[in-house]
Symmetry: D3
Subunit: 308 residues, 6 copies
Amino acid sequence: MTIDTFDGTGVKPAQWNLDAIVHQLRVSREATHNIRHQGRVRELPSREALQTIVNGLSAVLFPTHYGRPNLTDESIDYFVGDTLNTTLNRLTEQVRRGLLFSADTDALDETELTHKAQEITREFAAGLPEIRALLVSDVQAAYAGDPAATSIAEIMLCYPGTIAILHYRLAHRLHRLGSPFIARMICDISHSLTGIDIHPGAQIGASFFIDHGTGVVIGETAILGQRVRLYQHVTLGAKRFPADASGALIKGTPRHPIVEDDVVIYAGATILGRITIGAGSTIGGNVWLTQSVPANSNVSQAQMRNDC
Amino acid sequence: MTIDTFDGTGVKPAQWNLDAIVHQLRVSREATHNIRHQGRVRELPSREALQTIVNGLSAVLFPTHYGRPNLTDESIDYFVGDTLNTTLNRLTEQVRRGLLFSADTDALDETELTHKAQEITREFAAGLPEIRALLVSDVQAAYAGDPAATSIAEIMLCYPGTIAILHYRLAHRLHRLGSPFIARMICDISHSLTGIDIHPGAQIGASFFIDHGTGVVIGETAILGQRVRLYQHVTLGAKRFPADASGALIKGTPRHPIVEDDVVIYAGATILGRITIGAGSTIGGNVWLTQSVPANSNVSQAQMRNDC
Amino acid sequence: MTIDTFDGTGVKPAQWNLDAIVHQLRVSREATHNIRHQGRVRELPSREALQTIVNGLSAVLFPTHYGRPNLTDESIDYFVGDTLNTTLNRLTEQVRRGLLFSADTDALDETELTHKAQEITREFAAGLPEIRALLVSDVQAAYAGDPAATSIAEIMLCYPGTIAILHYRLAHRLHRLGSPFIARMICDISHSLTGIDIHPGAQIGASFFIDHGTGVVIGETAILGQRVRLYQHVTLGAKRFPADASGALIKGTPRHPIVEDDVVIYAGATILGRITIGAGSTIGGNVWLTQSVPANSNVSQAQMRNDC
Amino acid sequence: MTIDTFDGTGVKPAQWNLDAIVHQLRVSREATHNIRHQGRVRELPSREALQTIVNGLSAVLFPTHYGRPNLTDESIDYFVGDTLNTTLNRLTEQVRRGLLFSADTDALDETELTHKAQEITREFAAGLPEIRALLVSDVQAAYAGDPAATSIAEIMLCYPGTIAILHYRLAHRLHRLGSPFIARMICDISHSLTGIDIHPGAQIGASFFIDHGTGVVIGETAILGQRVRLYQHVTLGAKRFPADASGALIKGTPRHPIVEDDVVIYAGATILGRITIGAGSTIGGNVWLTQSVPANSNVSQAQMRNDC
Amino acid sequence: MTIDTFDGTGVKPAQWNLDAIVHQLRVSREATHNIRHQGRVRELPSREALQTIVNGLSAVLFPTHYGRPNLTDESIDYFVGDTLNTTLNRLTEQVRRGLLFSADTDALDETELTHKAQEITREFAAGLPEIRALLVSDVQAAYAGDPAATSIAEIMLCYPGTIAILHYRLAHRLHRLGSPFIARMICDISHSLTGIDIHPGAQIGASFFIDHGTGVVIGETAILGQRVRLYQHVTLGAKRFPADASGALIKGTPRHPIVEDDVVIYAGATILGRITIGAGSTIGGNVWLTQSVPANSNVSQAQMRNDC
Amino acid sequence: MTIDTFDGTGVKPAQWNLDAIVHQLRVSREATHNIRHQGRVRELPSREALQTIVNGLSAVLFPTHYGRPNLTDESIDYFVGDTLNTTLNRLTEQVRRGLLFSADTDALDETELTHKAQEITREFAAGLPEIRALLVSDVQAAYAGDPAATSIAEIMLCYPGTIAILHYRLAHRLHRLGSPFIARMICDISHSLTGIDIHPGAQIGASFFIDHGTGVVIGETAILGQRVRLYQHVTLGAKRFPADASGALIKGTPRHPIVEDDVVIYAGATILGRITIGAGSTIGGNVWLTQSVPANSNVSQAQMRNDC
């Protein structure tokens, strides 16, 4: 009936002045921000729950790769259906919590919030086959684009780019359906796993491939066409942040690049501002670019010198 | 009463020549370094324990964001006090283990070591409200500095920079209190989670903001003022490592940059050596800088050429 | 007897149109790739299993650092032997699964596949003492090369470079012994933990040191000599990918750099193509290099301008 | 991202005719009882949750015995308060689910049900100090009544009677407060752990002691006074079950024994029906008793014969 | 990467003379029985696996009681089908292991064994709807037979008799299909949970009810008709064990009672030998019976005396 | 970084008057017993730890039955040695905690206590091969004595008697070596699993067999010879408890039966007091016996009457 860890701590208990510290922390909390919002306690979405949910959705989309071994023709749909049901119930709860942080849900009561969360989740579920088709195009682009790739299975299990794009495509749909907080958390989970930081608001076409990937950053208002290929450390960022009269940043304006179809951007390139990279262009490694380039451009960095 | 995993391994047991390999590994261990130090077996700090400890401290500092849902006004202090107590007991044990690796604790016996670990932990605990205040300034700086941020909750749950700074501020305090090994492990945990590598010895002022963050490196002797803002891939590193007459590196000399108040450093900038970036300066993306610049400097990279 | 999570979901169950979605996903699966290969269902290797296996091998190689506290002279070999046996049994199963994805194992039946997996694992086990010797040289190189390092224990517990090289050396051996898929997965686990992306096909000599490490990429056909030192964001990549007449990439040709003994490459340097960096050279930070340099070269980047 | 167990099943997947069996089971379910009640889906209480709740309450009542080691004077109330809060929140949810199975809650809507569950839980919480006092009297009775007992700690950690009475006293309070289903489940958990089967409806006075205990049965309408002592296999049962005109059993009538103060009942005695065992009586081992006995009776079994 | 428990053991490591003890245990093992049988290593069935399997089968049979909350009309069959598939795969592996201990499988090779295990499991699966119907009759008998029962849910969640009969009915089917070892383990799991010990070889008709149950024993060759009701401590055992000429027990002969339809046996009755209890009889508490009784008998114990 | 369970509780947080209840419980604690003893906080032994320890010892004694599948000749000793070492370290800690509750250890300081715990554990370890030999005799007695037993494996995996005797033999050795509290807890763990209650102080010879076992009670000072066989519900108990002048029970006097070699006692027999059952005797079911019987006695119960 005991709930301790049984190996002991190896150290005798000490006095910590708990009362004083607890009191000071309470004072500190009261002096700053507070979880209450308009008199409503807001339960935060759970990162753990979202990880479980993404795992469940991955299993639903690609049951033989991300699901369970030994699935057979007669059993696979039972697995998919049961995992889908469990996962959607969990997602509804997280979407509901996330809605508490949207300005436009302040007017909803508990029941309306839950209904809205169910609607978003139901629409999200209906779009899963479409998301699957996009992801298949991404995986095929990776296989075609990397001479080191030896099989589809390798791309699905060993490429951080695959993991990042999978998270992004799920998150982007949630973002568009009105669940931006949840979407953002899913992308941050992916960022932690892969080093690839894609904002869920970005728009990215089919057959997208990121190789190696660590350090890639794609900003909130970026727009990428089809068949775009990126390497590690590529930044598609904002150049400057317009502020309003009071000095506060204006949120939401388009400020990240537009990358048209069939563009390749090599490692370390930094592309900033609402510029356009014309279709079919190649941007070389380490390039620093803040102006638009026409279609089929080939941009590269100045040479280095050898001091030897 | 059985302790096996019950699904079997799918493969019949094989012979591995265990005796020979075990013997060779023993010989190899004896030929190299050894965990014994001055006749004392040194138990290593545990990474898992430190992760649990940082989670506990996060919950103590921000119980509604990193603690538990459904905390109420009457219950929150019980949660904070109980979590604090458990966490400090665990921390004491890890600090004690870490002290075994400090040169200046060789003279202490077991009881003295434990007392020293308790003293460090007690002083650390007393400083938690102050650390909380710093972290609040950091979160507010993020909200003010990123147009994509929509709420404080988003910054606390979705920004790797927040996680990295939280780990750093806890670790830095432990570093200063005489527990450098534990501090280093906490920063490495953060590095693995976020891709942001801050040495616990670095000194960083309030209202610090790192956006995106992957690839940021801040060296051991770096000094950052207040309201500094960094983007991904920024390095604040050493230029060269002075060696002594025998060729061994001299440890501990100041060799990383000083970044004064209100400096912004954009993605990919590399700043090396004990130079000073004057207050209010802006360092552009991908800049390579090894010389001091005066206050309010605006440093940017040479242009790229378009070969198209 | 119930298997539910007992805290409930906080949300009433909803209707999701499961039947329709499950059906569409089945159609989508049938339209694309399939886990069956030549009529054989291929069980995928498990990432979790490989993480457990790498943990087990780490404990076997360095029992006092990665194994268990409180090991004594009389107990250490029992621990090593038991962990080794368990780990090799698990590895055999994963190697077996990986072999199902090799072209040259199509002709083998189940029993032959298992025997081949056991052979590979047995040979791998025999090489562990040699791998340990290499890793000891790497750790010593880190201690000698970083002025911030204060002990061997710190290098083993706090340096992502150590973790990455450990995974790489285990994976490279498996790659050479004919288990490339498993090797690739192990390197991707390391990539996720450390931000360091080393292809298991790369060849790397003793006393290798990577500092900080986030963003390092080392390609499949790269060859590194002894005593090479790398910093964060260094890319040893391919410049272009030769395609065959049909436009498909030719896989496997040498296309990454050769880095000779005693070379140091600083943060952010990008080195592309089958070029050679002569022994003893130093490549400066952010350098972009696509041509061979002779021994003892000292390559650095052009200067920045200050617009202030 | 995979969720399988990684050791495999050792057996190739087989065909099971899943569709047919699933269909037949659905038909079988539809033909019999159904979880829906008056159009309302009733979520069942969770046995796991109740085990966690009883563990939590035990820790709250006796923190040094059933709580956590290393509690200190400054920390113990934080632990008690936090555990109490968590446990009461969990209990409310289980009480709410249990209420769905009470006839008299059919008229309540969701919000009223939750309020009723909170009221019951709040009243239950208020009675915990009183329950603690009863349990202290029970433990002291055990220490006084068993010559093999060497310490209070032994009685709290090693006596199934202690565990059974603790469960009973918690369950009985819930039973009286209007949560009979939850009460019954708690008593059945205790039955499984100890072999002692006490119905939560029974009324039992202070200083109650059960030694050994396996096989003890105490029926729903039994009434026991103070300082009663029982040994293993004692049954306080019903003799016959009155049925109504239709042959259905009449539920709830008093049909179990009344045992007055200071009665001792030895191993294997079976006492049936609404009879009274007078105060101070002793009932011998294996006795079969279906008639009342006056105060200070001494009942024993007939002798055995030796056929040797 | 460390696998230790991080709280330490609180005790310094000691010397245990491991080598000597390990050696003596090896000698002791070699002197006695051995897991090898006819040159074949026999993997033992796993108790944990069987517990998981019984939980899975319970969920399949009664998904709303033993499965998962929040199942809906559209999701329940997915849950049942997926759980059934997973559970049957696991059961096959355990049946296969159990077959290694049957005399009549010595001649089978690995592949034949697996096929036989699959056949047994497939036939077992086909009988699940029939088992469900029997269990429904048992639950209804409990509701009709116990005045304390208030709902079907209470009988399914709080009655050890329900748990014991569920295990027995699953085990008996496996016993009959040729998997006696697995059947025996399932009954022993039930025995540990409920104190009710039913041999899987016993034959028991529909509408069976055991109240309280602790101490009930039903032997291997017992035969019970329909609508039998038992109370705690009832033994249906063997009177004597016939031995062969060499003094060894003869295994398998009918030696336990036959209990015909509609018999009630009260607490503590002991009925031994291959006797018949005629239909409709009532056997009183604590009765010791070794001779057959005709239909509609009413057997009770001699009276006690009161020495007061 | 969050530590909550992510599914929520389904119920809004409520007010519980935590402060008042926590205060009353503190008052209640202070009024009664206290964990402090002679100014020393006494950490209680952990039931969970002891379960893990018994599992470890079982695996050490019978590695192929209670250890791990797939052990081979080359690996088994590594497994045994490593498990033994881990288990003995854990046992030392529990023995140390248990010693805090012995009257004769009040004079020992922390270091002496630890040394005493290590001594007891070391001696216990040295006796393991002897315990194994006794257990082998017990298992063989079960196989010889039960016609339903079909293999040694069945007896080791499916007989609660085997589990109970294994716990008893380990506990009895600890009891004799001076660790009675730990011994008592181990026997109570066994009691909960099997329904068999053997006091660790009892003395029991080789080749001991308990069939079915639920409800068996063997008292502290009982002495059993070799080849004794017991069935369910057998009590070897005390008849009366002598009290001293003040009315307090006198602890430790011999008060339970002596059962000589080759005695069989059938189900439900109750044998009380310091009497002797002569060698070779048979005691019938349900017999109530409080006087010694000579060797080769055959005791049975009086007949029942049939009221039909």
